[in-house]
């Protein structure tokens, strides 16, 4: 069992920051557990949504931010739809993921790499391009072989064109990414 000394570990500034960035009132959560009960990702999580909500309430920053669940969240918003106190729980999860990234606490490299591969493709061509995203992801992580199982059918049905669709305004889109990178640094 993990013992946490609340007098030492508690960071109430963290709770306020989460509330501010997500626009949600975390004090409204009374730990009914409906978010966890309905979460389709729960079976894959290392910390349940309701536990993460509680960690935020208690100001336990590491407990709230250092978990794979934030990356495994499918953004389906079932938790938000079922919260009896109208907390947009999915928005809190998204806020926490962004905060964890800022702290350098990315807990699931493959998922993060997939998102990066996807956005790199959009950066380069202005659109996403399935085969390009797959190749980029597999090259980056040397993972994703499970997807080769569906490749023959996808290719046979000509569902994954080899030539990406590149838009005229791709420089304009690239500038969005450039400004975003500059602003962040």
């Amino acid at each position: 069992m993990n013992i946490t000394r609340l007098d030492k570990a508690r960071d109430l500034k963290f709770k306020r920051q989460v509330e501010e960035e997500s626009g949600q009132n975390l004090s409204a959560c009374y730990q009914c557990g409906k978010c966890t009960a309905g979460c389709p990702g729960a079976q894959f999580y290392d910390r349940q949504v309701s536990q993460i909500m509680r960690a935020v309430q208690m100001g336990l920053k590491e407990e709230a931010l250092k978990n794979r669940s934030l990356w495994l969240c499918l953004s389906c918003s079932t938790c938000s739809a079922r919260c009896p106190n109208n907390i947009d729980v999915a928005a809190v999860m998204e806020t926490l993921r962004m905060m964890a990234r800022r702290e350098g606490w990315v807990q699931d490299r493959p998922i993060e790499s997939f998102w990066k591969a996807f956005l790199d493709t959009v950066h380069a061509t202005g659109r996403s391009y399935e085969l390009g995203v797959m190749a980029d992801y597999m090259g980056r992580t040397l993972r994703g072989w499970g997807n080769l199982e569906i490749a023959p059918m996808a290719l046979m049905k000509n569902k994954m064109p080899f030539i990406p669709s590149v838009i005229h305004g791709r420089e304009e889109v690239a500038r969005i990414f450039k400004r975003y990178a500059e602003k962040r640094s």
Partner: protein
């Protein structure tokens, strides 16, 4: 009515049959689609998972391009695209967020009286059909009813959620697709997993996630007696159709063999539109044996009706 049309990236690849059938059905329903010129990717889940400003800027460029069409609103067949475009507009009603997004764009978004962004609203094509065209008009266009084809409707997460942004149908028990399918003469079975997530794009990093989630959806569909699944989302369709064998293996079930249709393919079919507007050949799970059954049921029904008419004629 004129619509600025946002096809979404998968329309060029994995969901080409959705794209083709959507255009054909909209045309049949007198919806005037003007494709947004030089649209870019909305950023999908990867963008909003990384940054709301980045996601907002990618969407805002599209919405500004959309305004050039002169249409009153944007429609997209893809729930993820329409959700992102909607969300960007929703968030940019706040002047502070608008300013953050504007910093990423070549030119700032136009402002409304309250200082928020003045951008077009986006709807799913499904919402436009249900609310603007209307179920009665859909029903009146049907020439080849689906003869009681037993279907379950699978909406996925984003058509009706998050409810405060989607503002469409019920977030957990939507009925719009059900009503369309009933209008086409299908039998819609009660289905508890209508909006339960299929695993989305998590299959790329980990096939087990959509494998087990979609496996459960397909297994339940089969258990309630469905002959086919009807979807409105390219990503859901990929997980349920293209990954169906994988889903069966991962969820330790035997192959489901359940055809998964885009609702627009069934609309095109019931409207009697040419086969090339449905691209049924693109489906991974072979739908033809089932469609042959539907045709056989139609033939039997028509024959029975003729017999009844003859009998009535003989009696009088």
């Amino acid at each position: 009515m004129k619509y600025a049309y946002y096809p979404g990236c998968s329309g060029h690849g994995t969901s080409v049959e959705y794209e083709v059938s959507t255009r054909a059905v909209c045309n049949a329903l007198n919806m005037d689609l003007v494709e947004i010129e030089d649209w870019n990717c909305c950023g999908s889940t990867p963008a909003h998972s990384v940054s709301h400003e980045l996601s907002g800027a990618l969407a805002a460029r599209n919405l500004m391009q959309a305004a050039k069409t002169g249409a009153d609103c944007v429609i997209s067949p893809c729930p993820s695209c329409s959700s992102n475009l909607k969300m960007a507009r929703y968030r940019m009603q706040k002047p502070e967020f608008k300013a953050e997004v504007d910093e990423l764009l070549d030119a700032p978004t136009p402002a409304n009286a309250e200082g928020g962004a003045d951008l077009l609203e986006t709807y799913s094509v499904l919402q436009a059909i249900v609310e603007n065209v209307g179920i009665e008009n859909v029903a009146s266009r049907v020439t080849y009813p689906l003869e009681g084809l037993k279907v379950v409707t699978y909406y996925g997460c984003l058509l009706s959620r998050p409810a405060h942004v989607a503002k469409f149908d019920d977030p957990e028990n939507p009925v719009s697709l059900d009503n369309i399918m009933k209008a086409l003469g299908a039998e819609v079975l009660p289905f508890s997993l209508k909006t339960e997530c299929c695993g989305a794009a998590m299959g790329i990093p980990d096939v087990n996630i959509p494998g087990s989630l979609s496996g459960r959806i397909l297994d339940t569909a089969k258990a309630v007696g469905a002959e086919a699944v009807v979807t409105a989302c390219p990503l859901c369709h990929m997980n349920l159709d293209l990954r169906q064998r994988q889903a069966a293996r991962i969820s330790k079930k035997s192959f489901f063999g359940l055809p998964v249709f885009y609702y627009t393919q069934l609309l095109a079919l019931a409207f009697g539109l040419p086969e090339k507007t449905m691209r049924l050949d693109k489906l991974a799970v072979n739908p033809y044996p089932l469609l042959d059954k539907v045709a056989a049921r139609r033939k039997a029904r028509v024959a029975a009706e003729l017999d009844a008419m003859k009998a009535a004629g003989a009696a009088s």
